[in-house]
């Protein structure tokens, strides 16, 4: 099936072919006219009555009739190029010029090949009805000559109308093959257009990949730099954390204002550690060390990690894990970090008095976990960019959290997708393969 783009290219290419053929006939008609005059001047320049001479009628016919024949086609080529009407008029003019050349060469049988050559040239248009018009002119010419000048075509003083059919047969014989060639030419032009579209699409895809590679390389370089910085920050952050803890132990009950500042300091240190971890996870990912573990326990731990935060935002956290274990093969640290990240995002996206529901279901060898919030939701454009590095809708985010979540899930042979609607909350669904029974036997 032809695409609109391929159809547009095909139409444009066909139009170019037609325009080029129009131009070819523009010069051909003029050339044939001059050739006809030259032939007449060489072969029959003068006619005689006894010792008196005058310009031969062939010269006058070649000049005047030739000019008349080409005048209208030339006018149309200049004023209305590439229209169907123009090329049908050109077909008529070309066949009439053939007849004129046959005439000025004294009806030589060799000149009749000009008719067949003309039909082949008209096939350049790749528009087979043009050949029908040309054939009709040839037939009418033969028919009229057969009626008025039978000697000219049949070599006898009188001939039946059916003799013209015999002559027409040979024209039809050629035209049938030319029509086939025209149709084939159009098909090839269409196929060429379709191939061009494929090439364009491949080029676009290649350019997109190239852009992605360039961006990835740039990102990797920045990532390596950031990872180095993050790694170096860990030690001073640990020191600061220790100092905050030390301060906390030294506080007296009357130091409430100072206590609030220490809490704030601790929270900021935790935030800095989280950012440093995100950067390190992104820049230096490592494959998970997978052991059998119960997803309900991982989820419970993640929920506990954000409970205080949720309470602070007045967001209700609900868990629906069902009964029994939900065993997967995974690395506890990575999965805990991933789900804690999802929950933290959900808390931040949910307004006060909202709710977050965490579910865990077991279904046909898969453990499906969902984090559903009643937050602000996202439009389609935001959803499309959600897992792209450095994309964030949060004022203080760096846009690596969800990238790491996705990478961790996929490293565990899992899938993650989001459904969301602006104003109606979001649901992140993570599917992980259940741990095989053989692995469970080692637990």
């Amino acid at each position: 099936m032809t695409t609109p783009r391929a159809e547009a290219i095909f139409r444009s290419d066909l139009q170019k072919v037609i325009l080029r053929t129009d131009r070819m006939f523009f010069w051909l008609l003029i050339g044939q006219w001059l050739f006809g005059i030259a032939i007449a001047l060489v072969w029959s320049p003068r006619t005689w009555i006894a010792q008196y001479w005058s310009i031969h009628q062939h010269v006058i016919a070649a000049a005047v009739l030739g000019a008349l024949i080409m005048a209208y086609p030339l006018y149309l080529i200049i004023r209305r190029p590439s229209t169907p009407y123009t090329r049908h008029v050109i077909a008529v003019g070309q066949m009439l010029q053939s007849a004129l050349l046959v005439h000025v060469t004294g009806g030589r049988i060799e000149t009749h090949f000009h008719v067949f050559g003309s039909l082949a040239l008209l096939a350049f248009y790749r528009d087979w009805p043009v050949l029908i018009t040309a054939s009709a002119v040839v037939y009418l010419d033969h028919l009229a000559l057969g009626i008025w000048f039978p000697l000219s075509v049949y070599g006898v003083p009188a001939a039946t109308i059916w003799r013209s059919v015999e002559h027409a047969f040979w024209v039809v014989f050629e035209v049938v093959f030319l029509v086939m060639a025209c149709r084939k030419g159009v098909e090839e032009l269409r196929a060429l257009a379709e191939r061009q579209v494929q090439v364009e699409e491949a080029k676009e895809a290649l350019e997109a990949v190239q852009a992605q590679v360039v961006a990835s390389e740039r990102l990797a370089a920045i990532g390596q730099l950031a990872a180095g910085i993050s790694h170096d920050l860990r030690t001073p952050l640990a020191t600061m954390n220790n100092i905050a803890y030390f301060l906390k132990t030294k506080l007296q009950p009357q130091d409430q204002e100072l206590a609030d500042q220490v809490v704030l300091l601790t929270r900021e240190i935790e935030r800095m550690k989280a950012i440093a971890n995100d950067i390190l996870d992104f820049a230096r990912p490592r494959p998970p060390v997978r052991t059998p573990l119960d997803m309900t326990r991982v989820l419970q731990e993640a929920v506990e990690m954000v409970t205080a935060d949720a309470a602070g935002h007045r967001v209700r956290l609900t868990t629906r894990f069902g009964s029994g274990q939900a065993m997967v093969l995974g690395e506890h640290t990575q999965l805990l970090r991933a789900f804690a990240n999802l929950l933290r995002n959900a808390v931040q996206a949910t307004p006060a008095d909202g709710q977050i529901i965490v579910t865990c279901a077991r279904d046909e060898g898969r453990i499906t976990t969902a984090v559903q919030d009643t937050g602000m939701g996202m439009d389609a454009e935001t959803q499309a960019k959600l897992f792209q590095p450095l994309f964030t809708t949060k004022a203080q985010g760096i846009g690596l959290g969800l990238v790491n979540v996705k990478r961790i899930v996929e490293a565990h042979e899992g899938t993650i997708h989001v459904t969301s609607e602006p104003g109606h909350g979001s649901t992140f669904t993570v599917g992980l393969p259940s741990a095989p029974k053989e692995a469970m036997s080692h637990v």
Binding site: W48, A50, S54, P81, L96, H103, G106, R108, L151, P157
Partner: protein
């Protein structure tokens, strides 16, 4: 060239239809006129029963009948381009029928300064070289043409051994045409079988050898 504009509006269609029709009719009409010129035969004289008696038989321009031989008499205008076709047809026919005597009566006008050029035209040379035994007679002022009623270049007359006219007419299909035609076929038949006379002279296509008022060009159907 201006960009393509489709001929779509009824007014434009009507205008192009009218112009196109006028152009087509004009072309066909002019083609008809051009064809008519080539296919309108020239004047052919009345058939003579016997070879006309020569009054001045000693003259080099005298046309004498050869007794006991079939004689082919060709009247030619040495500068008419149509003569080329007649000469070619004649050369081929006489090559196929070597028994006949050929006489070419070549028109040469009186009172012209370049008479030798008329007498040594390409057609004359062709007959001399390609028709062995052919006799060349230069018909000054077209006297012999008038006597034999051969008013148009390309007129061929054939007389049998008894001097009876058994063929009269042209052997080309049109002015300057070398294709097969009834005149050529009839001539071949006459030379092969010696039959005659034919029912009607075959048409002669060529330039008039003699100038007279009724031969002035009056449009299609007339002969220049």
């Amino acid at each position: 060239m201006t960009p393509a504009v489709a001929v779509t509006s009824p007014r434009r269609l009507w205008r192009h239809g009218v112009i196109g029709t006028m152009w087509l009719v004009g072309c066909f009409a002019a083609t008809y006129l051009a064809m008519a010129y080539d296919y309108t035969p020239g004047r052919v004289g009345q058939r003579l029963t016997l070879w006309p008696t020569e009054t001045e038989s000693s003259s080099p321009a005298a046309l004498i009948h050869h007794p006991d031989q079939t004689t082919v008499l060709a009247f030619l205008h040495p500068r008419c381009v149509c003569t080329r076709a007649t000469v070619q047809q004649l050369v081929r026919t006489l090559a196929a029928h070597p028994g006949a005597v050929a006489i070419a009566s070549v028109f040469v006008p009186l009172d012209v300064s370049d008479q030798p050029a008329w007498e040594e035209s390409d057609y004359v040379k062709t007959i001399r070289t390609e028709v062995p035994g052919a006799r060349m007679v230069f018909d000054r002022g077209g006297v012999q043409a008038q006597r034999f009623g051969a008013f148009t270049s390309g007129t061929i007359l054939v007389y049998d051994r008894q001097g009876r006219e058994i063929f009269r007419g042209g052997i080309t299909d049109r002015r300057g045409g070398e294709r097969e035609n009834p005149g050529l076929q009839q001539l071949a038949l006459t030379l092969t079988e010696g039959r005659g006379p034919q029912a009607e002279p075959t048409p002669v296509f060529g330039c008039p050898i003699t100038a007279s008022d009724d031969e002035l060009w009056q449009g299609p159907g007339a002969t220049p």
